[in-house]
């Protein structure tokens, strides 16, 4: 295989590109975008149904479409794209051949068949169980089978990634340590193995149960193991999109991280403090001890959060250091004002960083606090939080790097440049809105996954506060903006990939800046990043204030013990 591997040399980066790796990246990325388009449309339909004045879908369709939205977008879009990121971060960045292209194609096939199978099950109508599929609510067997196929496919993909690292090391395709981006991807892949193992542990018995072979599955046990998968998979997303952030600032600006040691340690924390069984999803379940909850949500969670807080400083810090070295040294923020805001890869990356931290990050820590969860669990606050993390954070980061992958890997010029420039702003504004307004509605006690907040068809009645209607209306409006941002993305990607101008074999499409422009570490130069310090201080203040405001809210509810 090593002998037959076909390579080309990328004229822009000088990297050697293995033909099979390139094809696999393309296939996975295209599949990802298709499911993003489908899943995004479902998301819009859900949001328009929750807008009381519109109330688009009937109840059965609402629950069906919501199940499909969660699956297609959280699982299928993100994981297909992550496969592309893994192959890119290993084979391409390390100048290596991909370890086992056949296995990688098998993985791709399994994931595709699995995703389609689960979608068919959902669309047939008897599997509207939400992507969490809590027992004893039962879906059709092929719902679980599809998920299992998809998961095993992804697992094979991870092993192809590990194999590629080994191949690259043995064939000495790079010098010294693996690049930071590859290190981040490695973190993601390691967590993925743990995740998928938990997934198999819970989905295999559930499949057997839905076939009637096993008679009973304990609902609490199911939930505990399910979230060992469900939560860790979010840690995969964080590792992957942080790696993507580093990749974008490297490729667009030539920025190197402030300190390799700190950044790598921060990635490592994601693995070490992967929350055991993901306690913060279990904070209001019966019979779980407070000690277990506190241990798992503090030791295990805060140190992973610490990892993210570190990246939250190093990434803007690296941008600032690089920009200052280029001469943008006026005042606190010239480096930021003069950043390449017209480049959608950079703009999307920076917006993703800000929204992830301010919306997704802070709310996640607050909600994951043992007692505070009581006033938030299963309200719309929860989807509000995770549209800050997976939609504004991961999805926007992946969208951003697509603008680099199209010229470098698909070798097509981006079409509709003006639209592409607008895209990250439109999507970011939309998802920031849905994130905030869902959190707002959740704070008012509005339930998630709920078709009718007027309870018109129930025997007993209950009236929710009027502001909740306003929140859901605003959510609907921003959902349209988010969907528009998603649509532009799909149009630009599909247009460029199929109809964009072909880029010649020796044509340079971007100047990936040379390294070593930044202040060297360990020498007399110390980095000076005052602007970043201000940004971080604002973030930290918001975090602390918001945290304590929620304790105040908690103190107002009925005493419980």
């Amino acid at each position: 295989m090593a002998i037959t591997a076909k390579f080309r040399t990328c004229p822009s980066t000088g990297l050697k590109v293995h033909d099979q790796a390139e094809k696999l990246i393309k296939a996975n990325a295209v599949a990802a975008v298709v499911f993003l388009a489908v899943g995004g449309l479902f998301g819009l339909m859900v949001a328009l149904t929750r807008w009381p004045a519109v109330h688009l879908l009937p109840a059965d369709w609402f629950y069906l479409v919501l199940t499909a939205h969660g699956l297609d977008i959280l699982l299928v879009w993100i994981i297909f794209f992550e496969m592309a990121v893994l192959y890119f971060a290993s084979a391409i960045l390390l100048n290596s051949r991909l370890a086992a292209p056949k296995a990688a194609w098998t993985a791709f096939g399994m994931m595709l068949i699995g995703a389609i199978m689960t979608n068919v099950a959902v669309l047939q109508g008897n599997s509207s169980v939400m992507f969490t599929s809590y027992v004893p609510m039962k879906a059709e067997p092929h719902f679980y089978l599809g998920l299992l196929l998809f998961a095993v496919g992804a697992l094979i993909g991870c092993f192809v990634f590990f194999g590629t690292l080994v191949v690259a090391k043995n064939e000495k395709t790079y010098q010294g340590s693996i690049p930071l981006v590859t290190f981040g991807a490695l973190t993601a892949a390691i967590i993925a193995v743990f995740t998928i193992a938990s997934g198999a542990i819970i989905l295999v018995p559930t499949l057997l149960w839905s076939l009637g072979i096993i008679s009973h599955i304990d609902s609490l046990l199911y939930k505990t193991i399910w979230w060992a998968m469900g939560h860790s998979s979010q840690q995969i997303n964080v590792s992957a999109h942080v790696a993507v952030w580093y990749c974008i600032i490297g490729m667009v600006l030539g920025a190197r991280t402030l300190s390799e040691k700190v950044s790598r340690m921060a990635f490592l924390m994601y693995i070490l403090f992967l929350q055991l069984a993901s306690a913060h999803h279990m904070l209001v379940e019966p019979g779980i001890s407070s000690e277990w909850k506190i241990f798992n949500t503090s030791y295990a969670m805060y140190l992973a959060v610490l990892g993210s807080m570190i990246h939250g400083m190093t990434i803007p810090g690296s941008i600032e250091a690089e920009q200052r070295a280029k001469g943008y040294t006026n005042g606190l923020f010239e480096w930021l004002r003069k950043a390449p805001w017209g480049n959608p890869a950079f703009a999307g990356m920076f917006l993703s960083l800000i929204l992830f931290g301010f919306l997704g990050g802070i709310s996640g820590v607050v909600m994951g606090t043992e007692q505070l969860n009581l006033i938030m669990h299963n309200t719309l606050y929860v989807p509000g939080h995770f549209h800050g993390t997976v939609a504004a954070g991961t999805t926007l980061a992946f969208m951003s790097i697509t603008y680099l992958l199209i010229p470098l890997i698909f070798r097509r010029e981006i079409m509709f440049k003006k639209l592409a420039q607008l895209q990250p702003y439109c999507f970011a504004l939309g998802v920031a809105g849905i994130s905030l307004f869902m959190m707002g509605a959740g704070t008012l006690g509005i339930s998630r996954r709920h078709w009718d907040i007027t309870f018109a068809d129930s025997i007993l009645s209950f009236e929710v506060p009027g502001t909740a209607f306003l929140m859901l209306g605003l959510n609907g409006i921003f959902a349209i903006l988010a969907a528009l941002g998603g649509l532009i993305y799909v149009i630009v990607v599909v247009g460029s990939v199929f109809f964009g101008r072909r880029i010649g074999d020796n044509e340079k499409v971007m100047d990936v800046p040379a390294t070593a422009a930044v202040t060297q570490y360990g020498s007399a130069h110390t980095v000076s990043i005052p602007g970043t310090v201000v940004l971080v201080a604002v973030f930290f203040t918001a975090f602390v204030l918001y945290y304590f405001v929620n304790w105040k809210y908690l103190a107002e509810v009925w005493p419980l013990r």
Binding site: Y63, K261, S290, I375, H377, V533, P559, L560
Partner: protein, 177 residues
């Protein structure tokens, strides 16, 4: 650069910049603050979820709930019994497709041991507008000791998706002076 191997080969010996170090220390201390806050609230706070729960079966649980309803029913409303249990007593709430049963009438400022369990799928106890949210499972009898401190009419929304009637699943608690 982040996409190339580290320029300094022995990168793990590089010193860490002061700003980064300070931030790591601050963030770490903040983690400790949040950790101790949870413990502090167990002592000083009024709102802590109990750890008390028992294994049960739908039949056993329903029998207990029925006994309380028979003993303390005060009236009927929309086909539901309204139960006014004595202060301090054990109160049983049944969650099933798609109702919270029975309606409870509690006295303000009194403390009750409220049990919850499901007869079928998972449900979510979401007491509004005070906003208390607790998961309810089949086979587990969860006991929450609560002290209503406001009078009025409260709704119990189901906030765990439980099938096509999920949005119709509303219960009621009256708190009287």
């Amino acid at each position: 650069m982040a996409i190339t191997p580290p320029t300094v080969r022995i990168w793990w010996k590089e010193p860490i910049a002061k700003v980064e170090l300070i931030w790591i220390v601050i963030a770490f201390i903040w983690g400790l603050v949040m950790f101790f806050m949870m413990i502090y609230w167990h002592g000083a706070g009024q709102q802590n979820l109990s750890n008390e729960a028992y294994k049960t079966t739908p039949e056993q649980y329903a029998a207990k709930a029925n006994a309380v309803v028979e003993a303390h029913k005060v009236r009927d409303e929309a086909g539901y019994p309204v139960v006014h249990p004595p202060a301090g007593s054990d109160v049983y709430l049944i969650a099933r497709l798609w109702q919270w049963w029975p309606i409870l009438e509690l006295e303000k400022g009194q403390t009750y041991r409220v049990h919850m369990s499901s007869m079928d799928w998972q449900h979510g106890f979401s007491l509004q507008p005070t906003n208390i949210n607790i998961s309810v499972h089949p086979g587990y009898d969860m006991v929450v000791t609560m002290t209503p401190d406001q009078a009025g009419e409260f709704g119990i929304v189901c906030n765990e998706f439980c099938g096509i009637g999920h949005h119709m699943m509303i219960g009621k608690i009256y708190v009287v002076e």
